[in-house]
């Protein structure tokens, strides 16, 4: 299907109030549950609204698109009545760089063309999505006129480690909003914000891949859109894109964060502290299955990184920090603790190195991978016997360290122009 064909089909859809987008790639196993939850949620909570489910697929070969088309929900069994023709599905391949961001671009384009009131995007690998997610992500937009609804879930303490160690504390310190899952992947937003996203020329960058989530959140915050969170319960999902390795994922996410730091330097330089954002939903604790962590492997990769990448780090890390890294690399597993302040300054120096362009940005950020694994290993050792609440408190300490050190970062950033 080419773009003109897609446009014709979209025009034929007529008026739509709510659009739910699901990006996918070879997700036939999990997407059926997601489609059922979305249809049930729209029918149950928004029976009078015209709604559309859009599956934006990256060329799946496992029958994902067919699975979406063929999935139906027995609404009677969940005690839901729906007016005829209120819910429709639209399945389309997306164009551009293969990745989640390109899939979202197609969803934004359809939302813009149909002038929808509210839009939701949910991942296709979710195993814990319920119809209530749709209510929680749409209602703040339709009824309370929020522009952006970020998800807030209960996750395993070692799930989303890039979020916990880098993205959440850094974006919170930079932009002053305590959005707990800025790259959660399941968002609600207004039609106006979808149109605003389309005005940005970022679709040939890492935003077109895994960078899309942090880009959406930061763009909404930095441009003054009205933000809130919705508590969605537990998040259980498959590992993202098993084909892509950790350093590629880390690069896509972190380079998007650093690029946004450049774009919105004028915004984050003026913010001195963070504030909580309004959270909708009934917050409760969730029991999550334990997971296996290969600590030795992570520590070994950290040691190899410190030993072999030292020649690169010397170009942008100060001697004091390099000394700490070497001492940590020599420490036994029991004494393997990565201090928060060192971690914060490590991230700041990586951001400054990208800002100064001391070498290829891809090389700078990919060389962060072993150090990130060291921080994760240190966090796992430290919190092995901790409860979810204790881990949250521990993360709060890390966030506060980022906030405390931020003025010094601004000073260096400004001095270097």
């Amino acid at each position: 299907m080419d773009r003109s064909e897609i446009k014709e089909k979209i025009a034929a859809l007529g008026e739509v109030d709510i659009l739910v987008g699901i990006p996918s790639y070879n997700s036939a196993k999990t997407i059926v549950h997601v489609v059922k939850a979305v249809e049930a949620g729209l029918s149950k909570y928004f029976p009078h609204c015209k709604s559309l489910l859009v599956n934006s697929d990256g060329g799946s070969s496992d029958g994902t698109m067919e699975a979406v088309r063929d999935t139906t929900v027995d609404l009677e069994s969940i005690l839901v009545n729906r007016k005829a023709d209120q819910f429709r599905k639209f399945v389309t391949p997306y164009h551009g760089i293969p990745g989640k961001g390109s899939a979202f671009r197609t969803i934004f384009e359809i939302a813009h063309a149909l002038n929808v009131k509210a839009c939701v995007v949910v991942d296709s690998d979710l195993r814990s999505i319920t119809p209530e997610w749709i209510e929680l992500l749409v209602k703040p937009v339709l009824e309370d006129h929020y522009d952006y609804v970020s998800p807030y879930y209960m996750r395993h303490k070692y799930d989303g480690t890039i979020t916990n160690s880098i993205v959440y504390p850094l974006t919170r310190a930079l932009y002053g909003k305590q959005i707990r899952q800025p790259i959660g992947g399941d968002f609600g937003f207004s039609g106006e914000l979808a149109s605003f996203y389309l005005t940005k020329d970022v679709w040939e960058t890492d935003v077109a891949r895994f960078g899309i989530d942090i880009w959406m959140t930061t763009t909404a915050v930095a441009n003054g859109f009205k933000i809130c969170q919705a508590f969605l319960g537990a998040k259980i999902h498959d590992a993202k894109d098993p084909g892509s390795d950790l350093s590629a994922m880390l690069h896509q996410v972190v380079s998007s964060v650093f690029n946004l730091m450049e774009e919105y330097a004028g915004v984050w330089h003026d913010i001195t502290q963070s504030e909580p954002v309004k959270t909708f939903g009934f917050v409760y604790s969730v029991g999550l299955e334990p997971i296996h962590v290969n600590l030795e492997n992570m520590i070994e990769k950290f040691r190899i990184g410190v030993r072999d990448l030292d020649v690169l780090y010397q170009a942008f890390l100060p001697d004091e920090l390099l000394g700490t890294l070497h001492r940590l690399a020599e420490a036994p597993k029991e004494a393997f603790t990565f201090p928060d302040r060192n971690w914060v300054w490590l991230i700041f120096h990586f951001a400054l190195a990208c800002h100064r362009r001391v070498m290829s940005t891809e090389h700078i950020i990919k060389s962060l991978t072993p150090l990130y694994l060291g921080k994760v290993a240190s966090f796992v050792i430290e919190t092995w016997n901790s409860s979810a609440e204790e881990v949250e408190r521990r993360l709060e300490e890390l966030c506060l360290t980022f906030e405390r050190e931020k003025p010094a970062l601004i000073k260096i950033w400004t001095q270097e122009g």
Binding site: T163, H292, V293, M298, H363, P370
Partner: protein, 236 residues
């Protein structure tokens, strides 16, 4: 007797003086042109250095790893200064060649013709070498990071190997371009490269056969029997 003296001394002397009278203005003109060339070369050097300073060439070379390579080659001057120096000599040589042409000496003219025809080869060879160094550094660094992230213990060796092979290849290509010992350089490269691969194969197959066996056993047995022992951490 007078005729003889005229034939042996006066006529050659007259001829010599005539030629000298014809050559001297050319020599003076050549010296003036060359002097102007030297002054102009100094001006070009200053302008070029300022231009490349404005374009931040030094930081660009740092990013590409070229400065690091230059330091290893004992080139302590900054790339901006080196480029300025290069343009100084280029301008000086051009004016030197013009000055030589002004002398109107057939032997020198022939020599210059050959030199001018050869000059593009020197420039192309220089470009090949610079591109080879930059590309070798970039790929070496990419190999180093990728190997470290894959947990390979000999990442440093891989990085150096990639860098050396690319620089060596660039050197052979440059020599080929210059036409210096074409067959010899190419044969030497083929022998060295082939020998390296053969030596590595022998070392790995004979000397390190136990290590290789253990490595392969560990790798494949681990994948077969210890599935699920990897991290279940979901980073995103």
């Amino acid at each position: 007797m007078e005729d003889l003296l005229d034939k042996i001394i006066t006529e050659p002397l007259r001829n010599f003086l005539e030629k000298l009278a014809h050559f001297l203005p050319n020599l003076i003109a050549a010296l003036i042109v060359f002097s102007i060339g030297l002054i102009l070369a100094s001006a070009v050097k200053v302008v070029t250095q300022k231009l490349f300073k404005f374009l931040k060439l030094d930081s660009l070379c740092n990013r590409m790893g070229l400065s690091e390579t230059m330091q290893k080659m004992a080139l302590t001057e900054s790339p901006e200064h080196l480029i300025g120096r290069f343009f100084y000599w280029l301008t000086a040589i051009i004016f030197f060649v013009i000055a030589l042409y002004l002398l109107e000496l057939p032997a020198i003219e022939q020599l210059l013709e050959k030199l001018l025809l050869y000059l593009p080869n020197v420039l192309i060879a220089a470009v090949i070498l610079v591109v080879g160094f930059v590309f070798g550094n970039f790929l070496g660094r990419a190999t180093l990071i990728a190997s470290v992230n894959a947990g390979i213990g000999f990442a440093g060796f891989l990085c150096r190997a990639v860098k050396t092979i690319i620089v060596l290849l660039a050197f052979v290509m440059a020599m080929e371009q210059l036409g210096i010992a074409r067959g010899t350089v190419l044969a030497a490269f083929t022998i060295i490269f082939g020998g390296l691969v053969f030596a590595l194969a022998l070392a790995f197959g004979l000397g390190g056969k136990d290590i290789a066996r253990k490595y392969l056993e560990r790798r494949f047995k681990l994948e077969d029997t210890e599935q699920g022992q990897d991290d279940e951490i979901k980073h995103i």
